[in-house]
Symmetry: D2
Subunit: 338 residues, 4 copies
């Protein structure tokens, strides 16, 4: 019974079908009919003209997007626990050719205009200090917290006022949207987002994410950077097929909802153990080493997590689009029984 | 009837099967059972202990391998028409952080110790000039020519004498091996190759190549660089499945043989039109614009190619593992009838 | 009466003389007789065989040294307020091709093995997280604090145990040595320092620092990197002349002592205003805006500084080798009179 | 009697004087009065508003300028024997973060629109090939040849039509202007040059060149890049002093004329030995090894040079602003007597 990562979940049958339907020969790279359909499909989804490029990983998506917003001598403001800072093996430094990440604090791995200002204010506008050129936020955040449209818009306004790009890491964008219930445009371009890494892999895809550009010009640069980074796959039609299978119907949202519902079921059993409100598909809970061992012994797989102050241990429980109801129920009961 | 690129061919049924068999959840990234089997599978194939990492594209494979051999202030010697120089959108400069490619000449896009020496000899060993640290060759070459074991070994000896790494771009390694009939170790580690980009995508794979390291130490660096380049896919088991499907049986060789045989059938019809001996799955032929138009009118798809001196036009015809015999026969007849 | 930076001080007459004596034509770059004398001069000074390269700025010196210790996918541990983090315009990211700085805390901008461990311990040794390869400390620190030989040795032991390089930013190394009174080897190579940026510019030089390498191999890389960074000046003899003028006699130490003595004189007048013990040539003092204005009105130039908690303002007072005794006395009196 | 490089020549007395006059403390970096005078001084010299930044070396000047014109995924067209390609230790790759140099041919190390077109025409405008963004020419060229205003303007027109930047490496700009006798604006901004590296070091300076920007915007980027490259010297007033001493009077032109005249005197003695017309301060001559030895034996220092086809040897003779008339005469006579 696996709750260690949505990364490990199987590929959704619709995605398989779409990939197999792409088996007929077509033009190489992104010249095929499916890849050429991406812009329109995302424009429909977001209710505005946008450009979309497939890419194999969220790390590549995030960092390619940032590389078009930030010069090598610039910086990106993000949360201290953002994936780009903590878990991408230095990819931002690679793709941006050495730009810096400036780290803001904030509850639940979310940042606010105030937290951003605390980072920006001490920076003198001179050549001795690295100047910020973009902000990156994660939707849903690394702690499964969701930015409301108003929260994003407040950051978007700050970004606009300073001439910064605003990037959204949407590895779990579907989970955030399932929670918010609003139009996907409301937390992205209408709120000032310049580019979104639209996650599919954690949500039933195999190896394709999309970078969605709401600002003309960014995509033109990233097209070259994607090839230069070895991310322009020659059989791109299988990449496009995955993405289209997710977004041309409601699959992305349905999968997001399913994972969120499973998380809620577990959360309900956790009570005061919860370290963060559960708004997506991640549940962070205080669990002592002994309690963790007990759960492991019952067949539950999950990662431990740094314990909050005063606690002996903690764990991260992640649900997926295909978390089996019986497993979810079993886990909820097991935790309640601790 | 498509002869424009082996990149466009369908995925082989065995590869599909292997990918689907990987659908069960397993550890993320390359911690899964399939990814962990790669080293052994390639060690068996090559008859020596080696380390193998999957990666989505040949460009990423080539450039990650080079990035472990060459410091940013160094250089790589390759053929003037090598894929890394001509067709990778500057990826070598990106992955090596600005190292140079030093361009050697040679018939059929192959280089020799003499051609390499012509590049190396004028370089003064001082800080004003960029110093070479590696050599890269392509097997089969960009013109479908094959290096014999002795030819590789001669280059390997030069590399060893100078302390250089030797990289082999094996996007069409299967086609080369189908032609050579020797042991794969004979043209790689026994001949001094440090790392090989083992191509699968042009040979019936979907989006997975392998970098095979014959020198301990190189892989240790590339593991970090792969993640940093956004190439560590989270559902790596689908990548490993593709590669294993190719090499744990004879699929890679069979596919290479099938494509080569189709190329030979076409070549036999080309006579004096042939621009290069056909040793793999590419046929370069002199075809006037009118002749090209005539073939296009009959339903044959292919790319034109820069005409050799004295000719009015030329074309590149590429076969694949699944080139249909009827199409191949039709093309051969059509050319013969020109 | 200028106390804003030792960077602004005049060039020492001996340095001028040495530069003018270098006016006779000699070999270009670093092939001249003076440049070739550097290794020996520093070996004598430090009591061990070492290699020294001149370079125009401390930023270049620090970052070239680090670039030889840290791969692009690696990281350097330094203090949160280190010059390389705060004041070099992102140069570490440029010279190391995107490596990260990992920020440790510590009183007086000094770090300890414990503070370093706090940074290192949470880093998992996997490819998702950037791995540290070096430590950089500043002697004297950005707050004019000095590491004792034992303190450096403790960090050196940690570095050695982990296989890290240890870099010392010695922009004010002379001031530190003037304070310590020990042998310069005691706080460098004997304590595990791999490379030292030996500052001259703040200490009476014009535009030449030296990178002193105590580990064979590092200098060999930096020679190429220095040229590649445009830092190999063609009339290098004027660079070498400056450095030799400083170190072939006691000039460097005398100048350091003079600046330190001036700082002590001011410090003695500051009493409880002092924010840090004064161990070099910088005095950080609590001064309200009104007090600052009063001093400015009396003709004293200095930079304001972020106020410590509970204070209304602060300032940084920097002395130099040539701070005029009358000015120093005047400033001390003026502060005492506040 | 030294004819090996103008790099080795002494510093001109006026430059010494100007540097010594800068000894009074002033603001650090480029905030001093002299540095702040550069823009105006160059604007007067070139007859148009321009921005100028000092930098220690031609390599840094060239590559910083290019880094503002070319993205990391782009390319620069230059001559196959351009200094940036052959003699800067890979600095263009470093400063541009991996952009390529595309090599054009041309007599005397000069390029023409036709030669540039030969490089550009085969480049497909797709992501697989590195796209050019700038052209760099050297005035006077690496073989001492000079571009006329019309020749530069023709290249400038091509650059403008393609949206490229046009960089001029003017390490020997003074020698070129001494030969041309036209207004310096005629071969620079009026002819479409975006940025010029204005050389001083080979012409009597010590360690300061200027990058002159004729396009607003480029300098704004380079200010940050200069600091990030460790090229913002803290005692910048000594840099500015050198440059101003050269250009606020006629010193730069007088020195250029003196060096050129010496070269003409030698050239007149060379007759059919000349490999290139002598238009600046370099004389390339066919000299057999025996003849070279004979000249060396008479006390003449110079570098040998790759022999042209059919010749047994060659040499490069370089004059400087302070070549002693007696030495020049002696060399001319010695060559004539061979």
């Amino acid at each position: 019974m696996k709750f260690f990562s949505d990364n490990a979940a199987a590929v959704h049958p619709y995605v398989w079908e779409a990939m197999q339907a792409a088996d007929a020969p077509d033009a190489a790279y992104d010249g095929d009919a499916l890849s050429r359909r991406l812009d329109e499909a995302f424009s429909t989804l977001f209710g505005t003209e946008c450009t979309a490029l497939w890419v194999a990983t969220g790390t590549a998506g995030n960092c390619l997007a940032l590389s078009a917003m930030v010069p090598p001598h610039g910086a990106v403001v993000c949360h201290r626990e953002a994936h780009i800072e903590v878990d991408e093996g230095g990819a931002p430094g690679f793709f941006t050719h050495g730009a810096k990440l400036l780290l803001a604090d904030g509850e639940g791995a979310k940042i606010t205009p105030d937290a951003i200002a605390k980072v920006l204010d001490p920076i003198r506008n001179d050549v001795h200090q690295v100047q910020p050129h973009a902000i990156s936020i994660t939707q849903a955040s690394e702690y499964g917290r969701v930015y409301t449209p108003a929260e994003v818009a407040a950051i978007g306004a700050l970004a606009k006022a300073r001439g910064f790009g605003l990037h959204m890491d949407g590895a779990r964008f579907a989970n955030a949207m399932a929670q918010l219930g609003c139009h996907p445009g409301d937390v992205t371009w209408r709120a000032g987002v310049s580019a979104l890494t639209f996650g599919c892999v954690k949500n039933g895809g195999m190896g394709a994410e999309a970078i969605v550009f709401f600002e003309p010009g960014l995509a033109d640069v990233v097209r070259y950077r994607r090839k230069r980074a070895g991310h322009l796959q020659s059989k791109g039609r299988y990449m496009a097929a995955q993405v289209l299978a997710m977004i041309e119907g409601d699959l992305w949202l349905e999968n997001g909802r399913a994972a969120n519902a499973a998380a809620q079921e577990i959360a309900a059993a956790c009570g005061a153990r919860l370290m963060h409100p559960v708004e997506a598909n991640e549940v962070f809970v205080v669990l002592s080493p002994a309690e963790q061992a007990a759960l492991h012994a019952q067949g539950f797989d999950f990662y431990d997590w740094p314990a909050p102050e005063g606690a002996a241990g903690a764990a991260r429980l992640v649900t997926a689009w295909n978390s089996e109801p019986a497993h979810v129920l079993a886990l909820a009961r097991a935790i309640a029984a601790l």
